[in-house]
Structures are given as C-alpha cells and as structure tokens.
C-alpha cells in the first residue's frame, strides 16, 4: 500500500456506508473533471501534430525553393545573362 492510499485510508477509516457513499461521490466528480481535462488535452494534441506536419511541409517546400536559391550557391551573373530572356 502506497503512502497516498494510507493517507486516504486514515481519512475514510471511521466512515460508515452513508459517509463513504458521499465521499465516493466527491472523488468521482473530481475524477470526472480530471478526465475531461485529459480528453481536452488529447484533442489539443491532434491540433499540435497537424500544425507540426504543416510546418514540416512548409519548411520542406521552402527548403526546396529557397534553400536551393539562397542558402546554396546561386547562379553567376554570366549564367543569368545567358538566359535568352528579354523584357
């Protein structure tokens, strides 16, 4: 038996059936609130994962487009000049 259980046991040790029933109602209500918080966090975690996936995709696209353009060596002026583009 853990310390928490011993502490609870000392609290409810003298209770009769009616008192224990009231106590049980109380902990069930508290537990229901905690379970609701957990369910909310669970939903929130879905959003977190979705946004992370999007950030990953966005950064990958940016990586392909920009890292190739700027972080890596861009073409020289001469190369650009060879493009047969005239405005």
């Amino acid at each position: 038996m853990g310390e928490m259980e011993r502490s609870i046991e000392s609290k409810i040790g003298g209770m009769d059936a009616a008192q224990l029933g009231q106590y049980l109602d109380g902990v069930m209500a508290e537990h229901a609130a905690a379970a609701a918080d957990t369910a909310a966090a669970l939903n929130e975690s879905d959003g977190v994962i979705a946004i992370l996936k999007k950030a990953d995709n966005d950064l990958t696209e940016a990586g392909e487009e920009i890292a190739g353009m700027l972080l890596h060596d861009p073409p020289d002026d001469e190369e650009v000049a060879t493009l047969s583009i005239k405005q």
Binding site: L24, H31, L52, A55, I85, Q87
Partner: protein
Amino acid sequence: MAESAAAPGNRFDNFVAQRVGVEPDQVREFRDNARETARAAFDATKSKVIAGAKEGGKLAAEGVKSGWNALQQWRESRANHRTVENGTQQIDLMQAELEGIDQQVLSVPPAEALAMRGRQQQLRGQIGQLATERQKAASALANYHGAKIEQPRAAAEAQANAIRGLNERMRTSEQARDIATANFNAINRQISILDAQGQNTSVLLQKLQQFGKQIEDHTSSINTLNQRLGTAQNALDAIRSKHGKKIQFAEQLRGIQNDGLSGTLAVNRRKPEARLSAPVSELRPEPSAATRPETAAPTARDESSETRPEDLRAIVAGFAKFIGRLPGQLREMLGKLNGVDKLPEKFDTENVIDRWNEFAKQNGSGVKEIGASDKKTLVEMLPTKTNFVDFALAMRLYLRRDSEEVLKGIQGTVQKFLDAEEAKKSKAA
C-alpha cells in the same frame, strides 16, 4: 484561278491526266472536289489556329515577364545575402582589430597610441556603416523569404510551447489518475470492512464499479495522449533536425534585423553543380514568336508578285491541310508564325516553284525538286497568280506520292526552314 482561265485549266488537267494516267475529266473533278473540301476545312480552322497562336503568345509573354521578375528578385536576394555575409566577416575582423588595439594602446609610445586611437575611430565608423548595410540587407532578405521561412519556424516554435503545456497537463492527469486509483483501493478495503460489519454496501459497490470504469477510461485517454505527445515531440525533433539550417537562417536574419551588430549567417554553400536547376529552367522558356519584336506585328498581306518566306510557309501549311491532315506539330508551327494572320489569296506561281526547289535542294529527301521542263509546263498551265489549293493539288499530283510521305517531307521542310530562320536571327543578333 483555274476557273477564271478555262484554257490554261484544261491544259493543266490534260497535263496531269497524262502524267497520272487518268482522264482529264477525272482530274478536273478531283481537283474541284478537293479544292472545295480543302478551302472549307481551312477556313473553318484558320481563325481558330491564329487566335490560339495569339493567345499562346500572350501567355508566353506573361510567363517570361513573370519569370524575369522572379529572377530579378532572386538576384537581389542573392546580393543581399552576400552583403550580409561579407558584412559579418568584415565586422568580425574589425572588431578583432579593435580589441587588439585596446590591449596594446596603453603600452606604446604616445605618438603610436594616437595613431592607434585614430585607427580605432576609423574602424568604429566603418563597423557602424557595415552594420547598417547588413541590417538593411537582412531586412530585405527577411521580407523576401519571410513567409516561407519565418511562418513555419514560428509555427514549430509555438507548437514546442504547446507540447510543453500538454506535457504538464498530462502529468496533472497522471496524478489525478493515481489519486483516483488510491481512492479506489482504499474505498474498496473500507467497503470490505463495512460489509464484514453487516452494513448495506450494495449501493457503494455499484458506485465503485462505475468509478473503476471511469478510471479505466481515464487511464486509456492518458495513454493515448502520451502516445500523441511522443509523436508530436518526434515531429518537432524531426523539424529541428531536418530544417535546422532554415530555422537558423530565419532566426539569424531576425537577430541581425533587430541588432545590426549581432548575429552571423553561417549557411552552407552547395557545390556548383547542384545549382538551382529547376528555377533556372523555369526561367528559360521556349522563345515565343509573340515575344520576338521582329515577328510580333501581324502583317497585312499584299498581293504583289513577290512571294515571301511567310507566304511559302503558309502555302506549305495549306498543302498539309489539303492532303487531309493538320497534325499537332504542324499546327503548332503555324501558331508560331505570328505574322500569318491572313493567308495570301494568290501568289506568283513561278516564284513559289523556285522557292519550293530551293528548299527541296537544301533539305534533301521528302520534297522532290520540280525539274526545269516541268516548271515551264506548270507555269504555262497554271495562271500566273494562283491560289494555294490549285498549287497544292498540282504538287500532289506532280509528286505522285503517298500523302503520308509527302506530309512528312513537308514537315521536315517547314521545321528546317524555321530552324534556318532562327539561326539567321541568332547570328544577326
């Protein structure tokens, strides 16, 4: 036209009939039918082809302009990047020199110390100027790349905070589950005691069962949340690992923007062969006829005896049409002929035969040269100015070849003609 000159028409029919080995009437009938069919088909598609060519040219011009603008922005961003990089290096060097002077200036003779102080002042001015330039370039870079780098970086950062928050909530939930479990066990034991005392515990047992179910569900949710958080944490770690350089780049840009003297850009350069193949190729569109000033203006046709190359191309295109097909490739070529907005109604027969022979000679197989005596006969047979249908018919009968083979030859001729023109233009440019 043949109808307007009965005698030449008859002579032509006789000539062809003799060549092909049929009756002149058959030739005439065939010619008349073919003319009508070809004319109707050509008229029906001509305007569509020309409209399509113009629209295609317009789109191509817009594409080139857009690509050009993107290229300019890209070049500016590259220049800004170099300004930031070079500025960082120079500032680092100058700051190192400043520190060196600080260490020496108190232990040198006054004259030297004065010179050092002067140098320090000069360095500080240069550093300030470089820092301003670097800050400006960093701001321009951040603007250029902002949405693409900063937003996902910020999203990942925000989610890192969210993960921390969720982790805290999960720990709270785990504590709540532990307390509930301890309560369950303690209450269960107390119920056993009350039961032994003879008290009525049936309601308590029912409630305890419900409580046990609640705890099970709660535990299941916590386990799922735990897994999700693990997934989210892994995703975040992957982002940091995979996109570290981009995130670092965005953060450095932000740092330099905020404080011109802090932050450095430590980005890896790729080997030259890995350069930007995709963007460059996107910016290198196939030259469009519509974008070439020298061919952009549609020309109104005259009816002079001079047969221009454009006329010949139109004739050849008309010929292809006449023999029953207008393949995509040829249609595309016709579309590129931006100057052809109206086919010539008539052209000089002799001139066109000369042109025909010129290209047949240059391009070899596929198109047969018209011999001197046949040319003479054709010129005599056909009116001095004729239309392309008559000419095409004459050519077809003259060549006495399968349509497919003739078409192939014509396509090659047209393509070579266009290539030769392009080469001339390039050389002239």
